[in-house]
Amino acid sequence: MIDRLGFLKEILNRDPHLGKLLENILDSFDGLSNQLGVNPHGKVQPPDQLKAINIAAGTDHIHVTLHDPSAGRKGVQYIVEWANNPAFAGAHPEDLGSSRERMLHLPAKDSNGNQLTYYVRAFHQLPGSDPSKPIVFGGKFAPTAVQLTGNSKLTPLASQGSGTAPSDGSRPGYGLGKDIRRPLPGPKVPVPPRAV
């Protein structure tokens, strides 16, 4: 690791003005990183798991509230995902931003009139962190199915995911993303690499 303090001290001895300027710039970087919830050299620790997720179901909408008593940090974003299967395959993300609640409008039935069952989970994420571990309404291995009592009909389209997760909804739980960049979609086995 670069001995930042040691280097600064050396520069301060040699050129006090330059040293103070660098010291100020480095402090500014630290402050900026704190403000933005990022780490210029890597990732920030993900937030602790949310403590509770509560849902009230109505006719054609549900009210989701999240309980997050942990020490908060500015810039944290809350994300709710719902799916029609308890494994949350192809889950649909809803970015709550800084809010810890959202009224979600969901169809009670699919386009053919079949009752839809919803499973809901939530997590949160800082801009520079991975998502926190999701909390599932009812528990991970016994998720509570939510059904709406109304008559609205719609078969949801396939999820498109969020952030830097693949744009086919195949990686739910990514929130803003775990990778800083998303590669172009390609086959699992890459084309043989070419020497440059």
């Binding site: 670069i2 890597g42 494994a87 991970k140 990778d179 800083i180 043989p192 070419r194 020497a195």
Partner: protein
Amino acid sequence: MNNAFGEDVGKIPLTVFGGAVTEMAPSDLPEGASPFNQDCDFLPGSVFTRGGRQSVYSLSGSQNFNYVKTFEEFAGLALFTLALDAGGTLWQEDVLNNPGVLSPIFTVIAPNTFAKSVTFSSREFIAFTDLVQGTDMPRQWDGTNLDRISQVGPGAAPGFATSSSNSKVQSIVQQSPVLFPTGAHDFISVGSGPVGLGTPFSPGNVCTLQPRTSFVRPANIVPGSNIVITGAPLLNGFNINNDPTGLTNPAYWTVTSLGPVIPTNSTSNWITFQVPFTAFFSLNNLSGINVQCTQATLTTQGQVPYLEVGNQFTLTGVTPAGWNNVFTVQTTPNAAVLQVTQTLLQNNVAQYTYVLQSGTQPTVGQSINVNGTLNGNGIFNVRNAAIISISANTFSVQIVSPNIGAAAESNATASVYGTIFLFDPAGVVTPPIIGNAGATGAIATSGVMGVGTRQAVVIFKTRNGALTPPSPFVQFNITGATSAITATNIPIGPADVVARIIAFTGAGGANFFWIPTPQTVISNGQNVTYSATIINDNISTQATFSFPDQLLLDATAIDIQGNNLFAQLELGSCRGFLTYADRLIAWGVNNKIQNLLSLSFDGGAGTQVDLTTNTSRLFPLGWTIDPTNGAGSTMLTSALFGQSFYIQNLSGVTQSLYGMITQPAYVNQLGTPIVTAATKYSCRVTLRSPTGAATGNLVVDFFSPVLNQIFGSFSIPLSSLTTSFQILSGTMLTVPFATVPKDLVIRIYAQNIPNLGDVEIDRIEPFPTLQPSFSTQFFASYAFNQEAFDGVTGLFGPAQNQQRANGGMVLFDTLYMLKESSWFSTTDNGVTEPNQWNWKTVSDTVGTIGIHSYDYGEAWAVSACRAGLYLFEGGEPIKISQEIQTVWDLINWKVGHTIWVRNDSATKTIKIGVPIPTPNKYMPEMPANANPTSPNVVLSMSYRELNTGAMLAATAPIRSSYSGRLLSPEPARKWSFWNIAAPCGENIDRGNNSKMLFLGSGYGNSKIFQLSMTQLSDDGSAINSFYLTHGMPKPEIAAAHNVDVLRSQFDYMQLLVAGSGNLQVFVFPEDPQNIPYTLDSPPLSAITQGDTEVTVNVKGQRHYIRVGTNAVGSTWSLSTIIAAFSEDPWAPVRGTAVGAV
């Protein structure tokens, strides 16, 4: 006349003995500089014989040593020296426990190989190279195994079948109704809640059964349970009886809360549920009211594997018929989860010591699953094995195997599937009270696993913890009845494989996951253990898995950035390794077609009957035995690594095409091109002929069966092979495809192989002819995953030029790439893989010439390139060898890649092994070697008292005084040229907190040398060590000492010199190239007895004094010369136009 006295005699002292400065004419050198010197070392104020070469080990042989390196394990608790001789034997010395003894650890490295390695995580990662390109496969040494670094994955996927679990129904029982007590204090109330003695506080829709007298609440009632109430009268006009049809009232109530005794009210065991009306009353003394729990207990005649809490099952054929439906298991009372703490196998009986974690004790005859044991290479992991005996804390099953000793288990579990299942028909069937059932009907699992299409692959896990690339995938369908997936024909890997991993996609999903350890989760308050998807052995070929997708999709993904096994490549031979950001980084990696299967035949073996011999034989998975010409092949354990493909003709006659195997070469399973158009291909083949076939060929070709055409082939005459493996390469496809035939296959076969002829192939590596290696790039592993090389995100390097990357170093937390004559830097950004790190240019002109031509100091580095030796402190590289540029230019740069550079921080010496033709102007007495191809001279630069990189860079041996006159300062960089032939040099840890420079012998005597000041010979030969002064006297010095600046007479000199043997003293008049005057050879003593006096009596303008020794047992150390000069008494000027000595 010798006259050292008198007013006319100037006595000129010389106390500065600088290093060689060859760039200047000798006559121009300032006082203290040396035109050249040989085999000298320096201290401030003195020059002396360098340490002699001393053999460290006692090996007999005739090899050179091309590599020596310290290998430190376990934070220094184990310390080894590794060495590689040119014959291909890798040696090891146990420095702490058996120093001075080299023992062979592997004897079949490709001959004439060098190595560049790095220690990382208590393993040595070694690149084998001829210094220009990778040669043999890269390997890792952990003190026990010398394994390949990364390897191919399984060549074929297992087969997968789904199964459902079923049994016969023994009984289904619902609890009997319980009569609500009748009494003055036994209330039924409706209001806002249960508070108050039968008196709700406010109106509401909460009905409370609130008895005070003794009331046995129906068993198993918990919040969320369902109950049915019958027999209640209308209460204030309201009906709380359930309607079995569910029409006028719900068919059941769902309990919302239960209560103990309410303080001050003596009321206990109350039950609340919501009713569809709002009221405000309480009534007591009610009679005839029954409360019945709807929950049912299903008892099956046998265990139902994989039916766990939360799983669904289907009942059929049960009477009453209302049970014939799909229900969900709420609890499994007699299923058990056990922690296995020890395993033992004796007389084909495996005994497990366990601790019951949940459920009931297992019983004899029950089937049991065991996961996560490690003893016996995982043989104790069984599925549905019948328990044959039980004791207090052990159970036993039958396993046919040799005895295996007892071993503790730390992460093993066992699960016993139940025969009793509690479930609730309420909400599924109406009415929910169905009536008890006897032994009628059957149960089958339903929806235990997520329904839909899945894919699966298999992965090898090696003893080093590495995961290989996955096999091709298999797709199959999970139906509602599926309770488990059984994998069959699971490939068995080579000997270093310790486990196989099955990765699955979720139902209907596209991403692969695997479960590393058995997972125990709490479901409905009960522990449920799901199996891992790893088979902890390399033996079994079948395994069964059952898991919910919630668990799978939360397990380890294998196709994400940073852990994409599908993009992982088997690392080719390479030129070197370094570590940075917890990654292993290789450079100069050989290229090959990566999406052909099992090119090294390490992807597992299949079995097929050889139709000609009617015997079973092995074939490499991923390849297909040609039905016509495929006879005569099998697989062997390779002497190099893993397995090999072997063709032997035992047919009795010569075979024109024999042992043929093929695999598609057009596209792979995912449609990714394999062989591409407009590309020429060549092939490397590692092979041998164990019996030495005299005729025939081994052929690798591209062939189209439809067109019946060979498009290109690489043919190797078997007569050119030996019984040892060798790596041969040649062109394979010289005319590129315009369009690749869709049926193109790559074939391997023997051609015209004689009877009893054979050939063994360890690996083939077809590669694009014009791109044989990733010569300009680094290839990084994933972080903390040293064998995982991602062919997309791991290849990285600056795009500025096409120079070869010759090396890499880490300084200031920055990764540097050193090319031939350029230098770049990058840093880990902490969030992306290396291909997205940014490169910056350090220098466009300075780089490094070879893989060993750079080294580190304290916060600086030095690098040798064509232009010179450069010091790097983080800014612009600074040249520190200008003073010997004329020597530098003499180096045989055709083999400049053989140069090595080593810095010894303890003695503050930089040593550079160089190939340089000798003798030459500056090394006139070195052995004749007109065209050295390996370092035959060591350029030694002493920088004592130069305590920083900046001082080293700034303190040249020549500098200008304030008056402009040149001076040779002290301290300064001091060069000497050492007569040592050493293909390699390395600072080796000797385990006593010191490092010694070890030099691989270049004398063909299987020795490794260290330099010792007490060794007064070079391994028994004389060290011809001498120092040559500048031309004395310099005119300005002469003038200052009252010596005529014209022609002078060198009368006499005194030397402060110590040593042993006899000092050889010469004076070279006018120029070091002239024939010297040989002076007396005074004896040397170890402790000076006063200056040694030597008569000279030589006339001239300048006199170069040479002192030294050249005999076994001799050494010298010189710190002062006082030279006495006077005016030439006969001819101060000679009056000639041309000088003559």
